[in-house]
Symmetry: D2
Subunit: 360 residues, 4 copies
C-alpha cells in the first residue's frame, strides 16, 4: 500500500536504488492528452545527478522509456508505464552499510519493519525513488495544462542554512530559478548559497534549507472538505519526500503571531472576481482553493550522508564508527525543486479530476 498515491489520477512507483531500474505506473490518466518521451525526459534532467558542481558527481543519464498508454504522442486513457534503468551501480561502495546502520538513514527502520532490507544503497529509501514521482508528475502536468492552461506551479530554493532569497513569491519566475544551479530566485543569494554548499562539501558535511512552492491561477473550488483538504493532500505529498521535516500553508507558523483581525483575509470585488486583500490563508479556505495563489513552504534537513566519522551500531548491535563513502549531494535542495513541483502537480491533477464529480 505504501507505494501508491492519488485517488483518481493514481500513481504506483517501484524500484530499488541498486536493482534493475525504477519506474512508475500512472493509472487514471484521461485519454487525449498530449504527451511525449521528451517532455518527461526534460523534467528528469532537472532532477538528474551530476547536473552541476553542487550535486553528486554520479553520472546517470536516467533515460526514460514509455512502455504503454501513449500512442502518437497522445495518452490512450490506459495505464502509462514508465521505466528508467539503473546504470551507475556501485554496490561495493555500500559494503560497510550492510552491517552498520547509517545515522539518520532508514537502514535500521527497514530492518525493524521487514526483518531484512536491500543489501546495497537505500533500496526504496534512496532518492532514486523520486524518479518515478518526477516522471508521473510530468504526466500530471500535461493533464493539468490541458484542463487549466493558465495554471502554473513553481518551486524554488528559498533558503539554504540561513542564506535567504529575497524575492517576493509572486515575483519569482521560472527563468530566474533555472538561471542558477541552486534554483533560487535571486542571483546574489544564488552565489552565496553555492559558495556555502561548496564549502560545506569540502568539510565533508551537508546542509539543508527551505523550498517555497506556489500554485498560480488555480481555479476556486479545488479540494475536498474534511480529510482531503487541498492543504492536507499537499502536506501528505510533500512530507512524503525524503528529508522533508516541515510544511506550511500561507501564514503557517507565523499565524499565531497575528490576531484574528489581522489574519483574516477580507473579500473584495476585482471586476467580477471575488478576491481577498491579503492572502494569509495561502489560497485555501476550509480545504478548498479560493482562487488566490496557493503558497507553501517546506523545510528540508541536511543530507544524512556525510564524509565524517559518526557513532553508530551494527545490525548485530555492536558499537562502531561509520564514514560516508558514496557520492552524495551535500545539499538536496537544488535537485528537490522539480520533485516538489511534480508532487504539487500530482495533487492538483487529482483534485481537478475529482472536481468533475462534485456537482451534477
Amino acid at each position: 500500500m505504501s507505494s501508491s498515491f492519488g485517488s483518481i489520477f493514481k500513481i504506483s512507483t517501484w524500484g530499488e536504488s541498486h536493482g534493475a531500474g525504477v519506474g512508475v505506473v500512472v493509472d487514471g490518466c484521461p485519454a487525449g492528452v498530449h504527451l511525449t518521451r521528451e517532455m518527461i525526459q526534460a523534467e528528469l534532467d532537472r532532477r538528474r545527478p551530476g547536473q552541476s558542481d553542487l550535486t553528486t558527481p554520479r553520472k546517470e543519464a536516467d533515460t526514460v522509456e514509455i512502455l504503454s498508454g501513449v500512442q502518437d504522442a497522445t495518452t490512450l486513457g490506459t495505464p502509462i508505464g514508465l521505466l528508467v534503468r539503473n546504470q551507475d551501480q556501485r554496490p561495493s561502495a555500500y559494503k560497510e552499510m550492510e552491517t552498520a546502520y547509517r545515522p539518520s538513514h532508514a537502514d535500521f527502520c527497514y530492518d525493524a519493519k521487514y526483518g531484512l532490507r536491500a543489501k546495497s544503497g537505500g533500496g526504496r529509501a534512496s532518492a532514486r525513488e523520486t524518479i518515478g514521482r518526477v516522471a508521473a508528475g510530468t504526466v500530471a502536468k500535461a493533464v493539468v495544462q490541458a484542463i487549466c492552461p493558465e495554471l502554473e506551479i513553481l518551486a524554488w530554493v528559498e533558503s539554504v542554512h540561513g542564506i535567504s532569497c529575497a524575492v517576493q513569491p509572486h515575483l519569482v519566475t521560472r527563468a530566474a530559478v533555472e538561471s542558477n544551479p541552486v534554483r533560487t530566485a535571486d542571483a546574489a543569494a544564488a552565489e552565496q548559497m553555492a559558495e556555502l554548499i561548496r564549502r560545506v562539501r569540502a568539510q565533508g558535511d551537508s546542509v539543508g534549507g527551505t523550498i517555497a512552492c506556489t500554485i498560480r491561477r488555480c481555479p476556486a473550488g479545488l479540494g475536498d472538505p474534511v480529510f482531503d483538504k487541498l492543504e492536507a493532500t499537499l502536506a501528505h505529498a510533500m512530507m512524503s519526500l525524503p528529508a522533508c521535516k516541515g510544511f506550511e500553508l500561507g501564514s503557517g507558523f507565523s499565524a499565531p503571531s497575528m490576531l484574528g483581525s489581522q489574519h483574516n483575509d477580507p473579500y473584495y470585488m476585482e471586476g467580477d472576481r471575488v478576491r481577498t486583500r491579503t492572502n494569509n490563508s495561502g489560497g485555501v479556505q476550509g480545504g478548498i482553493s479560493n482562487g488566490e495563489d496557493i503558497n507553501m513552504r517546506l523545510a528540508f534537513k541536511p543530507t544524512a550522508t556525510i564524509m565524517l566519522d559518526q557513532e553508530t551500531v551494527t545490525s548485530d548491535h555492536q558499537p562502531t564508527q561509520l564514514r560516508g563513502k558514496g557520492r552524495h549531494d551535500p545539499c538536496v535542495l537544488p535537485r528537490a525543486v522539480p520533485i516538489v513541483e511534480a508532487m504539487a502537480y500530482l495533487v492538483v491533477c487529482d483534485h481537478l479530476l475529482r472536481q468533475r464529480c462534485c456537482r451534477i
Copy 2:
C-alpha cells in the same frame, strides 16, 4: 471521497453543523476490543463547547450513541456507527451569512465548489465535524492500547500568540495538561495564556497558537516507505484539521539551521535496544518509526469568527460589512488538543494494523 480517512482502520464522518446530527462509521476495527460508550463520551467531553470560560458559551451535551458494532462492551469486528444529535441549533444567528461571505471562512469556497452550500453555520466546515474524528479516535485508541498497551499519545498547547509553555516535551504529563483549561503543560504559562484569551475575547478578537503532540513508546517499524510515510500520514491528518496552517516533525523548520553533522542522530545501544543519542529525526527515519518519541508541532491560526466589523462581499458580489454574531471560541487550541490526539491515534492505529501484513 472527501470524508473518509485510513486504509485498513477506515473512518467515514458525516454531518452538518445545523442538521440532524453528526457522526462517524468506523470500518475495519478488529473484533475483541474493549469499548464502551463512556470511553467515547469522555473524549467528547474534552472537546465539548462550554467546558470552561475560555471556550464558546454554547451548551451542547454532545451525547454519543453507539449504533452498531459493539456488544457487551466488546467490538464485533463489524462497522461501528456513532451518532451525536445536534441540539443547540440557532440558524437565526447565521441569517446574515447566507448572503455575506465570512472572511477566512469556507463560505465562498463551498459556493465555488458545489454551486450551493448548507444554509446556516459552516455545514461540513464547522468545527462540529470534528466530533466524528474524536469519537472515532477513541475507538482507535482502544485498539492501539489493546495491541501496544505501553504506547501513549499526548498533545498540549505549546504556545498562544507568543506566550509559550516552557516544559520539555518528554516531561509533559496528561495530569499537568488537564489541570488547566488552556491545556498547556505549565501552570504559570496557563494563567498568562488564559488571561490573554479573555482579554482578546473582550476586544471581540481572536488568537492562535501552536500545539505539540508526542507519541511515546511507539514500536520501531511503523509507517510505510515512500508515499505513506508515518510523517506524511500524520501531516495529512493534522493539516486536515480546521485552522491548522503548519506541521513539523522533529527538528522541523529549524533543521536548516543545523549542519548534517549536527542534525544526524547517532545510534548507540541501550541494553539490547538500538537508540539514538539525539532525536532531530522526531522518531521517524525514512518514513518508519525508530522507537524514539515521535514529536510533532502544529500551527493554528486565530479563529476566523471575530466580533468586529470586516470588509467582505455578498454571494451576489456586492461589497458589505460583516460582524460575527454566533457564539465562538476566541482561541480554538484548548478544545483542539483532544482532536489532535484523536487524529494521531487514527494514524497510529491504521499503521499498527498495516504492520501485520508487512512480513510473512
Copy 3:
C-alpha cells in the same frame, strides 16, 4: 474494509440485525441532486418485511431518517447519513442459536473469523443489512436519473423453483412486476409461484429461484477495461447479496453451446446509432457498455432458515438438532428485487461518475 462499496460514489453500511439500527453513509454524491426522504422510503417499503402474505410476517416499518447531506430536497455534495432504527427485536427467538450453528447460515463462519459474533440474529449477515443498500441505491438512482434521465433499471423474479416467467426481457414493465406480490412479469406465473411459496412454507421448507435484471438505454462507453469491467463490478455487487449463488451476463452459461459465428453480435447502423443485431454480449464488450440492454441473471438459493429439524453442532462442538424459530421468508426473491435494482444503480452511478474523468 468489508462494508464499503464503490470508488467515487462510495457507500459504507453499518448495523446489526438486533442492535440500535442499521444505516449507511453515502460519500461522493454530487451536489444539486433532487432527493427526499419519501423517495428513499418508497424503495425501503418495497423490501420491507410483512408487505404480503408471501414474506415474513415480521412487522417493521423501517422508517428512514436523513441525518445529513440534504437540504431543501437537494444534495449538498457532502456525505449523506441515513438511519433506520431497529424495532421488532426478539432476541429470545434466537436463544438456541447462540450455541447451535444454523446450517447454511454464517454463524460458524463468523466464529471462525472473529472469535465471537453478535449474540442474536445474524448480526451483519442478517438480511436487514440490505436496508442500507436499498437506501443508498435510491440516492444512486437519483444521481443516475439526473445525469441520464432515460436510463432505466428493472429487475424481476424470472423463476421460482422451476416455475418460470415467460415474458421476454425487453417487454417486461415495472407496472407488471409491481402488480403481483411475487414481483414476476407474468400474471399466470405469478399465481403459480405464489401458490408454490405458500405450499412450501406450510411444509416448513423454503425455495429459491432466479432474478433477471436489465439496464435499458445505458450510454455506450461505461465501465473500465481490465479489472473494473462493467460486468465484473456488477458481478461483485450481485454476488455480495445474501443467498446469491450465480451471476450471468448476456448469454452466460449458454454461451458454450454456441459457435463463435453464432455468438458474435454483428454491428449495423440504425440511423446514426451503431447497434448489434443480436445481444449475446449482454450489452457489454471488453468490459464497456455498447448501448444495448445490459442483461443479467442471478441465482438465489432457498432460504436457509427452515422450520424442520436439522442436524448440526453446537459452538462447543456437540452434535445437536436445530429447528428454525424466527419469522422468516420462505422465499427471498420477491423482496430481493428492489435490492438487486439498488445494487445495479450503485454500480451504474459509480461508473457514470468515473466516466467524467476518462477523457480530457
Copy 4:
C-alpha cells in the same frame, strides 16, 4: 482506476498488445517470501501462445524480468515490478481493424469511451493483458504457500461446447490436467475436445466452454461480510477475465431446483473439525469460508475472432464485411486455466492478509 486489483495485496497491470511490453506492479507483498524469476516464468509458459496445436501459432517467449522488490530470491516487502517485452508485433495484420469494428470485440466500446484507441490489436482488451495477471498471481501463490502451505488452487476445463469432463471435482489432480493440451481432467474427454477444437478451427470458427476451479484446504474464516464476501471478490476477479460470461459458487444456478431442506449443508464433527455433510454452499457461508472446498464454475464464450465473413460497420459508420486475419486461438479455455488460477490466488492472498487485521 481500471487497472488495479486487491486491497492489501494490490496489483496494477499495464501494457497494450502492440506497444513496448506488458507488465504489472505488485504492491503490498510481504517481505520474506521465496520468489524467483523461474517460478513466474513457469506459470507464464502455461498461458503462452504456441504451446500446443490447439492454440494460436503465434510464437512469443513471453520472458519475464523482475525489475524490483526481490533480492536473493526473497521478497523485500517493496513493490515488485515485472516486465514482459512484446516481440511478435504484426500491426499490419490489424490494418483493416483500424476502421472496421470487429464484432463482439471491444473496438467500438473503446472508441465510445475514450474517443480514440490503440491503433492495432486489442490494446488493453487484448488477451496479452492477462500476462500481468498470471505473473502477479504467481507472486500471490508464493505468499499463499508461505502462509498456508496446504492450500491448493486447481482449475481445469470442465466442458468444451457440450463435451464434458466426467471427473468429480475433488478427484481432479494437477497431473491429470497438465497431461493433455486441453487441460481437462479426463483423458477420453481431452481427446474428444481436442478433436472438436481442431475441426472448428478448420472451419474458421471458434468454441467456448466452462472452467471449474476449486480451492482446497482453505482455512475457515476467510472473506469479509457484506460487500467483499469471498464469492463476491472471486466473481469480480473471474468476470473481469476476457470472454467470461458467467460465475457460479457451489450449487450455483442449480440451487433453485432444490428445497431448503435439500440445499442446507448439515454440520457434523469430524474429529475436532466442524464439517458439512454436503457442500452446496461451495465452501462459503455468509461470504466467509467454512473450511470445505471452494468450488466455482465459469462460462467462457467462443473466441470472438473467427476466420469467416461477418457483418459490421466502420468507425465512420459505413456498413462493411470483416473476416479475422490475425493468428488466434479457436478456443481460449486451455490457456485460460492458469489465468483462472492466478485470479483465485490473487483473491485468496488478499483475504489471507486482510485476515490478519480482523481480530485483536
